[in-house]
Amino acid sequence: MRRFFIIVMTLIALTIFIFGAGKPQYGGTLIIALDSDPNGGFDPRLSTSAAEARVMQLVFGGGLFIREKDMSLRPFVAESYEMPDNKTFVFHLKKGIKFHNGMELTAEDVAYTYNSILDPKLKSPKKSGLSNLEKVEVVDKYTVKFVLKKPDAWFAQWNLTMGIVPKAVAEKDPNFAFNPVGYGPFKFVRYEPGNQVVLEANEDYFEGRPYLDKVVLRIIPDPTTRFAEIKAGTVDLVQNGISDEDLPLLEKDKNLVVVKEPGVIIRYIAFNFKNPYLSNKLVRQAIAYALDVKTIISEVFKGNAQWANSVLAPMIKDYNPAARWYHYDPELSKWLLDLAGYPDPDGDGPKKRFTVTYKCTTDPTSYMMAQIVQQYLADVGIDVKIEQYEWATFYAQAKKGEFDMYSLQWVGIDSPAIYRYIFHSNSVPPNGANRGFYINPEIDKLIEEGEVTMDPDKRKEIYAKLQEIVGDDAPYVHICWFLNHVVMSKKVHGFVLYPAGDFASIAKVWKEK
């Protein structure tokens, strides 16, 4: 009997130990490394940098909608919404959501947030993003109506996930950006310029008090230092802040967990259609076939990316996997160049078919990629001159269309709305980001159609066709979609990597004591 009792008690203790250890615990401070200083402040109406967005995701959580991991939108401060016509949104807000100062979030605050952005006095950089917004009206205390000038399938994605500011505070405090009052899982405590941002738990968070007591976001601009900090255990979590070369070292560390998942950052090479050689579709296709992208991914990005065939990543609903893939085929490339009217003058000799320039930044990874591209194109008889510039200079030239080829990446592409900026004929420099002067009336038509088509299935068909045409025309060589990574202490649980790097899951993160 005594022996039986001991065995049962041991089994009970073991069960508690095994399953109790995995149970979320309240308390503790999570220290996150930020790679840049969020010195633009934390006013959702004004802030533009990624670092600021991360802090605001903790202080505000979301807006009328919040973006989920699968890139869909979920009503957040809104309980529900309807669209009486395709230009109007009517939101019914959740009751009882409290700002961190105790005041309730109402329709007045929502209307104020958006109307103040439209007010020239605020000088908000978000104003032009709301150019299609006719008006925002308060219907009653918990109902607000948005009326657009014309239908826009992407309006919610681009504009309605922004944090809502408290009217009573924001309109009186000129320093609101550095004393933000939100309603999210964490309250703003202080910002120490160049050093850190300190947040503490919001006990009254409407989606449930977070497990953590505090979150400290330390500003650590140097990637080697971030590596040292996570290795030393003085930082708990680093997202997308460790170099590709250093990640394998951290994967071997028993005190750390490294997670990698597909993201929505696309690396591409752009062509300038004003260059006489690159205006020829056969030449662009030839260049795409001449590049062994899989080797570029393994050598330059250490395998931390996936071969791409579109600007849209696979987790985006409108992605088309059937859009053209340019497999590595140097012989096909040479044949296309011959067909285009640019034969190799001396076969395997030193003379080249033609010369183009390739612009990149002084970033070592960018330069490495440039060198590899140069070598692959030399193999098919194209001479590439690499020109390196400091970022702002490079960017200024790219924006003006002053290049033959360049490589860059698009970050946070969560919908096909990007296509208007990068491929519509109205977006050629200086008007937009169609820097290569790619003009295709069929593409224009598909972009315009997609923007006003509210039926998701019909929209998917439109964008599928668009991606097929773009794949064939090759204004870009799509290189890869980068994997997001997070390195965290083994004591941290519950963090979820979002494709766009959102910090939404920190509300549910807990730390072992």
């Binding site: 160049g194 140097d222 230092t225």
Partner: protein, 306 residues
């Protein structure tokens, strides 16, 4: 002396004006637009022009410069384009960190260089002398971006004694101060040594010894004081340089000083902040040089300014 001080202060004015003109021209002439940087890649020209107009960046360059100079005379350095906060406030916020690092690095440099340089001169051609010269050579040859991470690997990752980076208590300043102080002390050690050797060869030192003064007094009261004069000049220039921000060290150790602020504002093309940083840095250099010159008079009564 008073007239000298007033003259030096008045000379500051043309220096400040010249620096203002130069930095204004340079920052506006280099490629890159702050509004484009702020709005990101999907901004249209209409977006950019609207914000440029709101921020007054579409005014002719001459008008922008006149506005800047008018405000400067009132002590107003304008507002940061990115944060919209007063430039003066932003720079002054970061100065305590820079001053702390400067003082700590200076202490490290002096603790190493004065005893080591003096000893090397007194024990000329001995193994101490040779060791000090090797140290000086290493110190001058080792770049901060190499020494800093090396110290982090040793003291943070391997021994776990100190944090890799950050700003706060005493433990955070040790590694950046050693990084900067070592580089400073290398050149100072050589200077102290050569200056001491010259002074120890002077007649008055021989006289002091002949009179029977203790060697310690001869070295520290009579020789070192005069040997330090050229050292003060170089030391002053190094302090001036540190007070304008040690960019590489601040970045490696996540130290929130003026150096990092300066380079970040250049990358973001935050014109008013760049101008403000340069002006304050220029004034710092002028002030430090001024203090160095005044200090000569106290160190050596033979040097006076009429």
């Amino acid at each position: 002396m008073i007239r000298y001080i007033i003259n030096r202060l008045l000379l500051t004015i043309p220096v400040v004006i010249a620096v203002s003109v130069l930095v204004f021209l340079f920052i506006h002439l280099i490629p890159g637009d702050p509004v484009e940087m702020m709005l990101g890649e999907t901004a249209t020209i209409a977006n950019v022009e609207e914000i440029r107009h709101m921020l007054g960046l579409d005014k002719p360059l001459g008008i922008q410069f006149l506005d800047f100079m008018k405000n400067l005379l009132k002590g107003d350095l304008g507002k940061s384009i990115v944060s919209r906060r007063p430039v003066m406030q932003i720079v002054l916020e970061r100065y305590p960190a820079t001053i702390k690092l400067t003082v700590a690095s200076a202490i490290v440099a002096l603790i190493i260089s004065i005893p080591l340089g003096t000893l090397a001169a007194v024990k000329h051609y001995s193994w101490i002398d040779n060791l000090s010269m090797i140290f000086a050579l290493l110190g001058v040859s080792m770049p901060n971006f190499w020494l800093g991470p090396l110290l982090i690997i040793l003291f943070s990752l391997t021994l776990g004694w100190l944090p890799p980076s950050g700003y706060g208590g005493f433990k955070y300043i040790i590694l950046p101060a050693i990084t900067l102080g070592t580089a400073m002390s290398a050149s100072l050690t050589r200077l102290v040594r050569s200056s001491m050797l010259e002074v120890l060869d002077q007649e008055y030192i021989k006289t002091a010894r002949a009179k029977g003064l203790r060697e310690r007094l001869v070295i520290y009261r009579h020789a070192l004081r005069n040997a330090l004069i050229p050292v003060i000049t170089v030391f002053g220039m190094q302090i001036g340089s540190l007070l304008s921000g040690a960019l590489i060290t601040e970045t490696i150790f996540s130290w929130p000083g003026v150096g990092r602020l300066f380079i970040e504002s250049i990358f973001r093309r935050d014109f008013p902040l760049v101008q403000g940083c340069v002006l304050i840095i220029a004034l710092t250099y002028v002030f430090v040089n001024f203090i160095v010159d005044i200090t000569y008079g106290f160190i050596n009564p033979k040097i006076r300014y009429e």
